[in-house]
């Protein structure tokens, strides 16, 4: 006969109420672990999917994700000349926040190196990859755009030709794929007024210097296209992605590139590590702290309710001692109640999580190993929580039965 279960049945209301509360707390603990996994997943998603062997970025930076990296657009051609390199692609990545149909639209823009890269590697759920050099985009469903929809960005409208699911940047915002030149056009869209003002400024400077007066051709240059005005020059790219030729040694190619003083080279694994150790680390520590606090709160709640249930049973415990029940029977009664509460709370957390986690604004990834380790933690805190009640129960004197 199990005394713990019978007592719980007798106090069902209180027990169920508390257990649901514990379940919600554990669900949040579980969810926070899942959010951490999700952060890593999202942060490394692009690096994992884009299929580059080496990342060439600005010298002594840890870009292009962890910090800003700027490289001249023609670096691509230099890289291509290195033996062992099969393909080199320009990579442009930046986040824009614009307005679309009256609502803010945050896009993590990825520039694809048209025409070498049309987005063949992007897993589409519908639509197609890019077919022309301009005015097409592939959008993640999290951006809320529909196939065929036209989005005004800068001076042009871009048509959504393909859709992805779950392709988001490390901030959780959806990715949008454009050709590199479109991506740059959107980000660095220069209004005519800026061009005119810069031209006027150049002319003024030249007029004030001897060389400007002696070399009228310079004045012509100052009146040229915006592309040729250094302050408005075509922006640079974030990185160059290298695909190795079959049989080429990554170490050799890397050694060659590393000898250039203006770039730094990372492998895909190193890019992943940069993201996880740098950008996600603070979030991990923050979430870890919350998890620990919530576990402590859960322990305190279980301990208090088990202690109260024990206080309510003092006379029954005294009676059990009077009729000769051993300490392990009485301690076991309380420990079992605590474990049942922990286990039921865990079950509720797991069950609720299945419905709640997909509705969280950030991706929640629940791994089996996390479920197992949380189960052990709950076992531990339930045991710990029973200590107070057991301590009380073991101190009950059998003659308490007689107290009025």
């Amino acid at each position: 006969m199990n005394l713990a279960v019978r007592d719980i049945r007798h106090n069902a209301g209180r027990f169920v109420f508390t257990t649901v509360g514990i379940g919600l707390l554990l669900m949040v603990v579980m969810g926070m672990g899942g959010i951490y996994r999700g952060l890593i997943h999202e942060a490394t998603l692009l690096v994992n999917r884009i299929g580059a062997d080496l990342w060439v970025v600005q010298g002594s930076t840890r870009g292009p994700f962890a910090e800003v990296s700027r490289l001249p657009g023609n670096l691509e051609d230099r890289v291509r000349a290195v033996p062992g390199v099969a393909k080199a692609r320009r990579f442009v990545s930046h986040t824009v926040q614009r307005e679309h149909q009256g609502k803010p639209l945050r896009i993590v823009m990825q520039g694809l190196s048209w025409p070498e890269d049309r987005g063949e590697w992007i897993p589409l759920i519908s639509g197609r990859m890019l077919n022309q050099a301009h005015f097409e985009m592939i959008a993640d469903v999290s951006l809320g755009l529909a196939l065929g929809e036209k989005v005004h960005l800068g001076q042009d409208a871009y048509e959504v030709v393909g859709l992805t699911r779950g392709m988001v940047g490390s901030s959780g915002d959806g990715l949008g794929f454009f050709t590199v030149s479109d991506a740059q056009r959107i980000q660095f869209d220069t209004p005519g007024e800026a061009v005119r003002i810069e031209r006027a400024a150049r002319r003024e400077r030249l007029a004030k210097t001897d060389i400007g007066r002696l070399q009228p051709v310079l004045l012509d240059r100052a009146n040229g296209t915006s592309q040729s005005i250094p302050a408005l020059a075509k922006p640079q790219v974030s990185a160059v992605l290298v695909t190795l030729a079959a049989g080429a040694s990554a170490a050799d190619v890397r050694a060659n590139l590393a000898a250039w003083p203006d770039v730094t080279v990372y492998t895909t694994q190193e890019q992943r590590d940069l993201l996880v150790s740098g950008m996600v680390d603070k979030a991990r520590r923050q979430l870890g702290l919350f998890r620990v606090l919530l576990l402590i709160i859960s322990t305190v709640i279980i301990a208090l309710i088990i202690y109260t249930l024990t206080l309510d049973k003092v006379r029954d415990i005294a009676l059990l001692k009077l009729i000769g029940a051993r300490n392990h029977v009485i301690g076991g009664l309380i420990l079992q109640q605590s474990l049942i509460m922990g286990a039921a709370g865990y079950g509720i957390a797991w069950w609720l999580g299945r419905y709640a986690f997909p509705r969280f604004p950030r991706l929640v990834v629940i791994e089996n190993e996390d479920l197992v380790s949380l189960a052990f933690i709950v076992l531990g805190i339930s045991t710990l929580a029973s200590v107070l009640g057991i301590w009380k129960a073991l101190r009950v004197e059998p003659n308490t039965v007689l107290a009025a």
Binding site: M1, L3, R6, D7, R9, H10, N11, R315, D316, L319, L320, K321, L322, I323, G324, A325, R326, V329, E397, P398, N399, V401, L402
Partner: protein, 237 residues
């Protein structure tokens, strides 16, 4: 002559110390045989409960010896055996109230006494059912204590006290919460149990109308015990 169910000699119990000192038992000596049902009378505060709880091994005396079923168990406050194990094997208890565990059914309340004494669950259940039938409450076996009348609750408590075939059953005012007719039925039950199950039974009571069920009557006054002849009418209270 067979071993007495309980023997108490020169028992003394003092509560507190200094200003608050109360001598609850001055010098009590008694002996009760198995199969004997003994009533214990006395005015309030005379020390009846103190004597009973001392024999129940839950309230150690200041001095004096207690032997149960031939085994010396207490010498003053000194424990000569494991008291809890000894209670489990040799003693049964019935009290005025708080007798039953509220979250267990009548049957389970009896069963638990057997299970704490290592009787396997199934056997304990069968034996508990037998005892409830023996005490005429078998029909209420699956009810929780709240659903039972006071008299039924006391019968279940008696069944539990009998569960491990104790040599001694102790009852402190078991009928105080019952009307006189039901009180009498419970008292008769104790006599029946003592005689049929060969247990010594001590019942503390204030009810003078049921004294005829006892084989002997002990009167406690001012912490002392004296035997009262059965024929003599009540002296006081």
């Amino acid at each position: 002559m067979s071993t007495p169910a309980v023997e108490v000699s020169h028992l003394r119990k003092v509560y507190g110390s200094g200003h608050t000192e109360v001598v609850a038992i001055r010098d009590a000596t008694l002996s009760i045989a198995r199969g004997e049902v003994v009533g214990m009378l006395g005015p309030s505060g005379s020390g009846k409960s103190t004597i009973l709880t001392a024999i129940a091994l839950i309230n150690p005396p200041t001095s004096g010896q207690i032997s149960i079923n031939g085994t010396a168990v207490l010498d003053g406050p000194k424990e000569l055996v494991n008291l809890r194990a000894f209670r489990r094997q040799h003693l049964g208890f019935v009290f005025q109230k708080a007798n039953l565990i509220p979250f267990l059914t009548a049957l389970e309340n009896v069963q638990v006494a057997l299970e704490v004494n290592d009787v396997p669950s199934r056997k304990a259940r069968a034996r508990a059912m037998e005892l409830l039938d023996y005490l005429d409450v078998g029909a209420r076996a699956n009810n929780l204590p709240v659903a039972l009348s006071g008299g039924e609750q006391q019968r279940v408590a008696v069944a539990r006290a009998l569960a491990n075939e104790p040599s001694l059953i102790l009852a402190d005012e078991p009928t105080a919460a019952l009307d006189s007719q039901r009180g009498r039925q419970v008292m008769e039950l104790f006599a029946k149990v003592a005689h049929e199950r060969n247990a010594g039974v001590i019942v503390v009571t204030h009810d003078h109308r049921t004294l005829d069920v006892f084989d002997r009557i002990l009167e406690v006054e001012d912490g002392m015990i004296k035997e009262r002849p059965l024929s003599q009418p009540a002296s006081n209270s």
